[in-house]
Amino acid sequence: MNPVILYKNIFDDDTLAVTSTDADAKYDKDNLIDFRSYTKWKASSSATQHISVNVVDAGFVKTASGGFIELASGSLLESANQGGMAPNAIGILNHNLYTIGATVKIQHSDDGSSWVDIYSLQVVSDKAILKLFNENSVSAAYWRIEISGATAAPEIAVLMMGVKLEFPYPPSSPVIPKTETIKLSSEYSEGGHLLGSIISNYPISINHKWTKFLRSWADSEFVPFWNSHGKKLFPFFYGWDLNTKPDDVFYVAVDPGSNYQIPLSMLNYGDELILRMKGVSE
């Protein structure tokens, strides 16, 4: 599968609501959308929890036939803007959903009362999640995550759901999914013996390159990401091949040392795009 970035987030909205929050003031629903891996929302109990958002203003009209309203006269009135949103990717970071045995579903609604399941998330670990859904681009005014069946209160540091940015094809060969290093300090005695090591963390870096891609794709997909998110060093979810490597999900930011450039020498195509990302191994 082609690499995917998730950076848009419909939950980043004033209407973000949660069923409950732990009484400890360190937890807050706003922590879900602050991009920080070290601040969390935590529910007050293991009861079923919803994290919901209303993505349109009042006046949304869902048309019966998908785009037109049939008037009493028989004329068809095309709805100018169907409104709603059609997210197709979800990212979750630093959570305990696997440990607590939670069942996670994505649901949508047109009125905020009647909910329809659209995706059931298979949680196989507490590591970062990046999943794609809603292949049919269903649009709705209300979206929510339902967490049920948990044995303890769920907690999540980063929750993102939005429209994915998909690259046109895999990175150029050879693909190095990630480079992981060890940040540590070691000391040796006068006699040459290892005295000890202090390990700080395992930084990861990802350098992927694409060549000969449509300029129209770059203009409509990548440049908006770069301008609004990438060059501002906001973190995002990245999966380089979610089909064959579903666990290779990274929460990264653009490497500050990156140079952004798209050489153009062939009509309609960009010659080359290099995306350097860095993060920390979980």
Partner: protein, 679 residues
Amino acid sequence: MSFATEQGKISRRKIDLLKLKMDYCANTYGVAPCTASGAANLKCFNTFATCQDTPNFVKTTKDYKFINYDVPVSILNDFYGCYPFIKTFNDLPTEIKEKNTLIKRLKIDLYDDDFNDVNVDKYRSERTSIQGSFWKKFIARNLNYKGRIVEKYEGYEGLTEADFKLVFAGAIENITLNNGVVTIEAVDLLSELGKIDYPLKTSAYLTADLGKEFTANSESAMLALDALKNDYCVRTDFLSITNVTFFQPDGGTIPDGRQYRIAIIAYDAEGRAIGKNEQLFTMVNFVDDSKQSVQISGDNVSGAVNYIYFIKDEFLTQWYSGYASSSMGITLTSLSGPSGPPPVVADRYFKLNDDDPTNAANWVYSNKLDITISDASSFNASGYIRLDKEIIYYASKSGNTLQNCTRGMFNTDRDFHYANTVVYALLFEAPDNPFTLLKKIFGFINYSAYLDTKFTTYETAWAGINFSLRVVAKDTKLAEIYFDLVDILDCMSWEGEDGKIKILKHSETPASVATLDENANIIGGSQKVDLNEDSRKTRWIQYWNRFDIEKGLKEKEAYSRIIITVDTDLESASNYNDKVEDLRYTAWLNDDSDTEADIITYINNLLSARKARQKSAQPFLECEVELKDGGIVTGDLVDVSTSKLQDEFGENYSGVRFRVIKKEPVDRNKFKLKLLRKF
């Protein structure tokens, strides 16, 4: 899992925690007792700087916790609520010196970040918008950050916060911001002693003017004074006890056939001597038993409530106490005592109640002087104060009133003092256990909780002489007074890695001593030797018995006694051929501290101990050790085996004893130790 176990592993993940303990109001905005009222969006932030009802501010403490910026998420979860802002530490560690100690400083660099006020702003949900960065808002809300406590802890992955070790406790000195990085500078608690001016400036002040005080030896002298209304005069002339007669009834044990000097002193209700009659009286034989009584009668003195009789015969130099009586008539049947001599001057206290000092009627006999100040709660039950340049003794206190004051102590001028004059407290310590006195000094700065338990251990075990402190009137720092006492006890004092203020005798040897060698401990290429020639001495000098309160603690003219020990062998032409003094002063040993013989013995023993330590130069050895040896702390003794020093036979030092006088963290995984050879 324990701290020591984790520290000793060959590979582990180290974690630093930082706590800032900031003031925080316990009230809720607008809820009694808080009377603030305002738009929800403009509520306070529960800090004094943002308080809208400061009289009702209820001070508690809120901990802000920080952790290393580069720890993985799993560790962040274990320490949830700690902000991962710590970038680097820069430790400027303490260093124990022979005299005095270098204070410890800590600089912490922390990252700044946009912050949504979760867990900081109680009224966050009521604000119309939230913006700003963590540190810029923190500073704006906590303008009184200076002096607030900083604590640094170290631990390892897998340990809980309770297992972490406190490695620094100090007070914030300054915060700087520079391109998204905040630097907090803190100094250790011992440094606070160095900031406290002595005499101790208190927040108390005179609530009313205090008039000048004169002395006069007669009424005419008093009427001639250039005094103003509300001034005072101490009359030293006695009222005369008139018409005194003596009679010798039988039945006493006072030898007859001798001449006696009898002094009758009249005292007022406050115990001041106001009247006197002193005369010779010859006891003659009336009966064969050669022992009789003396019956004395005379006129009562106006204002007297008590009479004490002193008697001494022609063969004795010692006065004997008479009988305290409420009336002049008394019969002395024996010589009981002995006692001190009778007072030679009266203590009659007058206050000028009007503008004309020449009119005797305006001078009113007055009670002993009481001085009322704004707040006497932090003052001892009795002691000395300073107003401008005058030192005043008070015998007791009641509420905010210092009672039974004696002015012009230590020959200071008894001048006029305006209302609102600041009151300075003076230390004056009666002879006592020196470790009790050390602990008292920390009571002045409310840091008693940070004292190591060894202060109490030494206090309990102390069986030596008492120490005392006479009034020190010259401006100095409390640290100088503290380290004077530490030094004369042949101790060292510093702030330890555990944040406790330490005390340790030079002579103390622990039951077990760590070892350092070049295979298992000392990091390659890290050793450096300094032979420290300046540490060698040939004569040791100690000044004591401070009598001049106006001079500084290190001015030899302030002292009347000196003891010197000279090692002539060291000074000989065949040896070092020089004279190098170790010169010290102490304000804590005075001739009223204990018996003179015991004090001299103590000082001689002290000088012998210093000589044993300093007659040879004490080399420094610097080396670095890995974190696994982090259990070695400042003040510890270590036995070192090193190839960098050899004896006269060319043998490498093996198990030679040093003391750790400085331990400096380097990076996050090693320490630089400065070791001083211990003889």
